[in-house]
Symmetry: C2
Subunit: 706 residues, 2 copies
Amino acid sequence: MSPAETAPDRIAVAGIISPRSVAVIGASDDVGKFGGRVIHYLIKHGFGGRLLPINPNRATIRGLPAYAAVGLAPGPVDVAILAVPVAHLLRQVEDCAAAGVGACIIITGKLADAGAEGAALQDRILAVAQAAGMRLVGPNCLGICNFTDRALLSSSLGLDVDALKPGGIGMVSQSGALMGTLVSLGQRYGAGFSRCISVGNQADLELCDFLDYLIDDPATRVITLYVEGLRDPARFAPQLRRARAAGKPVLCVKAGRSAEGAQAARSHTASLAGSFAAFEALCRDAGAVLLEDPAAMVFAADALDRLPRLPRAGLGLAVIASSGGSTVTTADMLPAAGLRLARMSAATRATLGRYMPESHVHLPLDTGSFDEGTAEGGLEACIRAFMADPDIGAIVVPMTTQPAMAPRARLLPPLAREGDRPLLYVMTAGEVGNDARQAMRDADFPFLDRVADALAVLRALEAEAAGRDRASLPPPARPAGAGPAPALPTGALTEAEAKRLAAAYGIPVTREVLAVDAESAVTAAGTIGYPVVLKGVSRAVVHKSDLGLVKLRLADAAAVRAAFAEIAAALPEREGVLVQEMARGEAELILGARWEPGFGPLVLIGFGGVLVEVLADVQLASAPLRPADAESMLRRLKLWPVLAGVRGRPALDVAAAVDALVRLSWLAADLGPRLVEMDLNPILLRAAGEGAIAVDARATLAEGLA
Amino acid sequence: MSPAETAPDRIAVAGIISPRSVAVIGASDDVGKFGGRVIHYLIKHGFGGRLLPINPNRATIRGLPAYAAVGLAPGPVDVAILAVPVAHLLRQVEDCAAAGVGACIIITGKLADAGAEGAALQDRILAVAQAAGMRLVGPNCLGICNFTDRALLSSSLGLDVDALKPGGIGMVSQSGALMGTLVSLGQRYGAGFSRCISVGNQADLELCDFLDYLIDDPATRVITLYVEGLRDPARFAPQLRRARAAGKPVLCVKAGRSAEGAQAARSHTASLAGSFAAFEALCRDAGAVLLEDPAAMVFAADALDRLPRLPRAGLGLAVIASSGGSTVTTADMLPAAGLRLARMSAATRATLGRYMPESHVHLPLDTGSFDEGTAEGGLEACIRAFMADPDIGAIVVPMTTQPAMAPRARLLPPLAREGDRPLLYVMTAGEVGNDARQAMRDADFPFLDRVADALAVLRALEAEAAGRDRASLPPPARPAGAGPAPALPTGALTEAEAKRLAAAYGIPVTREVLAVDAESAVTAAGTIGYPVVLKGVSRAVVHKSDLGLVKLRLADAAAVRAAFAEIAAALPEREGVLVQEMARGEAELILGARWEPGFGPLVLIGFGGVLVEVLADVQLASAPLRPADAESMLRRLKLWPVLAGVRGRPALDVAAAVDALVRLSWLAADLGPRLVEMDLNPILLRAAGEGAIAVDARATLAEGLA
């Protein structure tokens, strides 16, 4: 598409989402047809604009005058929605373009999602639209559901209910069926949506266009995304930060966490799934919440829309109900969900002690044996105490069947609204719990059916709070002595060059000298101090150990001479032989950096050696980092307790590891796309106060440094 | 309770569960009262026996003649159910005993669950009952729900529905409220229960009594348990094996997985939670399925009741639906749930290829773009192919909103019933999915609302299949040369004694000699071969390393003499100094054995060193073991890939580790309670074919071995 073929946009995204006039191409009285459902939902849910059914064979549809073609309908037409057979699609789009339509929402599928022929047709349709300045949503989408303004431009069966409750949850989805399902799921629990957009194949308008809209949309308080692959990841990270600055949590399910999921996502909407790990790091860094389960995303969004947010990350939970069995099993499920019970304050314990014997004053709190007390003000007093306890971030109420379920449910919303923490009400029973559920709907208060759902929500709330906490920190500051980079050639660097680069950013590396013959190696060893290591250096050889080019623990001059001879024999073509101090440490870390196209500079930290492979114990983040970011990466490692000092072992120099990682992150940020990748592997970490040192390094530059 | 005070039982458990006559003490017309609900549910759900309301103030209740006291009601009375204030309980129980009542179901609480005073009253009530031969259920229970025979002896609000569907799920629960909730939950999904028993404080009849009943009960096909603490664990393991032999899966949620859960369970029904790890090992060994989430237990029980079981453990899954988004996100959720997609056979791929282009023939299978084909026989063909595929254990259908949801749902039950594998149908949408749900209820076919629930069910089905597979193996056989144990003293053994015990069971230990002076140590070192290790030996010192009593890598006689002198100075009181070969290995394992009261002999294996602490990477099982059992313990270790050989590292001698663990298990089984505990830590594991060797050992004997 050359610029000459592109006309200015006829309509903005906001105009498409809240159109004044909508033409339904292929409109029908038959709700069994796509075009029948679209017009049905528009009328049923009270669309307030002009509605223009287009059908050459009918004079009226649903009592409205029908037009044989969009060009015959009274303009202007903000949006045309097309649910026509793929064979007629191009002509209909051409008609729309000619008629001055602002945007087409194309529900029709089998375009780029169905092979090369469909992709070619999609390109032709896009060209027609762009030449006219007409925007496209889809194809292969389920349209746009604007609940706030009752403009339901969609054929989704998810709209097949009597009343749609609007609310603060916005959604952009690369799966229309999933979107309709999640809207329906949410409505069952009283969740309310603002605008939900199914983007389909994203021929023109794409996920980020609608994300931009939702960030600025006053009706949207929480944003949910179902992402298969980003068309332009570079747009995404700044948007997430913008949403965070606007105080709007972004929740996201990303296809492709598993290898099979990634493959399947590629063949679904013809999008590249991209690197899941990079996406995950991007979300964390920008304060977005990445979830696995789309249903959990809706529940978490609802909690963020209708309940207070967590005061901050890292707090505990209060679990309270009148069933010992349900409180105990809920408490037992917390550790696997990465959650914990709170440690109640003395004040909270004192309040509880007024209603039950001391032996029962503990979390989880079973009020069952003391219901007389708790029913008469006791429950209220306990919950008020929890709301004021500094270690309690949220309250979970896992209800079981019992007398007066609904009256008890009714107690909670006003009580919860006095406080500033989320209270999650769970009703596990089947239909006997329906009165309690209805009480919650009547009070416009969220509820859940499953304790497991509540824990998934709490994990998401915790991630949201952590993102919020991080966003409140000052921006990363460059440490003293980090850079500039020295002059280095393009391509794979030698170990010595890579270490020079690391050292220029203040990362400690082994003392070493490049020796050209055995005697200068012996001299160097004497200066460095025995024992030493010898390594054959060649730009062509990356895995030196595999070729026997690394000789460890050389204790004297004779050993150095013998090792030099062996290396010389194994590597006739070489830059030299590195004579290196023999460093020691208590743990091996690997630090890495790479440029991920679309995502920018990333850094990685993990445990070195065979464990990295087995445990996949690595953490990734966008560069540059603050020290606090680097430390939280370390704390997320499964083997973190090894660094912190476990059972009598000394704590290691975490500060040195943090410093090295921060410095590497500045290196990666400064070099940008010029640094293809860099590994410091291993970095040996010593006991606290004794530092860290990189003993091997490699790096590849896309272009040389001057 | 002395035997003299105990009369023979008036009634068997089966008679209590299916009584011919029931007296309701404290019967009322008011369903707001416990006694009112009990009689209400008995009548409403069609109790067919004699119903005897007991109330001194009423002539009739619910149209039935009421009696002022149980002794005035026409006998015989099989069961009296008591929901009376705790102050009147003893007198009522005395009346029942005097009137010849077979058993009392005591709903009244605040007995042993509410402190010492309540516990004393509970003891008096038990004494009254036992003296008469009258059995007790409870107190502090919610009674017995016999769905099969419509004898609903319970006040649980979970029964507050129009119709109760009977089925094959039996339940024994230490929480009445949880039981009622789970029954209600199950009924929503069309699950059917046989007999559900709330055991409360288990003053007399306890969980194992009812478990025994359910194992023999023809109406019960699957057994579910909510356990807070076993009164007699020694009864439990044989019962699990009996259930397995009867082909009845046992599913179990056990309180106390977390420390807080364990504490809370203790204060709930006054039962000791016991060692969770031992309970977990017991369940696995006996083929019972331990779950975390009570709701998942009900869903899994329903799947086992109404669907075929998995052909065997270890198979993959087919995920199929007409939404790319839902199939992809479902596939992405599998790895975290410990599940995997299947590898389709060529035959399956060929079948699928008839309905969709080759590029779409992969799992998860998205039929969305090819619905025309799949709707007309394609879906059926795919599912039949999956049912015949040797790597497909189960099929998951994660439905989203779409046209014709209910007709499509109706296709599945008959299709699934043609095959012999479970098909899990998931309907995530809210009320727009209700027709599809009803279609499944009408077809008596299970459905779920949440993909996460389906995955929890599949994990449980996998565990059930693994237990079934294991039960089909021949019993453990003693390896050659395992025992007998040598004579050894009571108490903590020395390292040399513990190794002698291990060696007597054929476990390889380091070559070593106990030396009394430096010169005999030098002589021994010469025989063993340098380098050697010296260890000071004293029965009083367990942690030798901490006191500097272990000297490693002694390369010559001078080093041995120096080391001996240092040890002699540090440990004047000693049995001697052990001169030991300096063994090497590629990995450090820890093997342990202990006697767990109520559970019997247990063995443990894990990785040694600091990692054990950090990763909690240990596996426990009951002794003795088959080699296959020992190997599957190894395979469950997080670090198993280290043993199997990861990325270029050699595979280690897994067979030697298996052999050592099997031998230790026979040692533990033979010694029984005489072996308090034993650790072989570390056992060094070498490369495949090169064996394993225990380099240190300790053990404590409760009594000496002759």
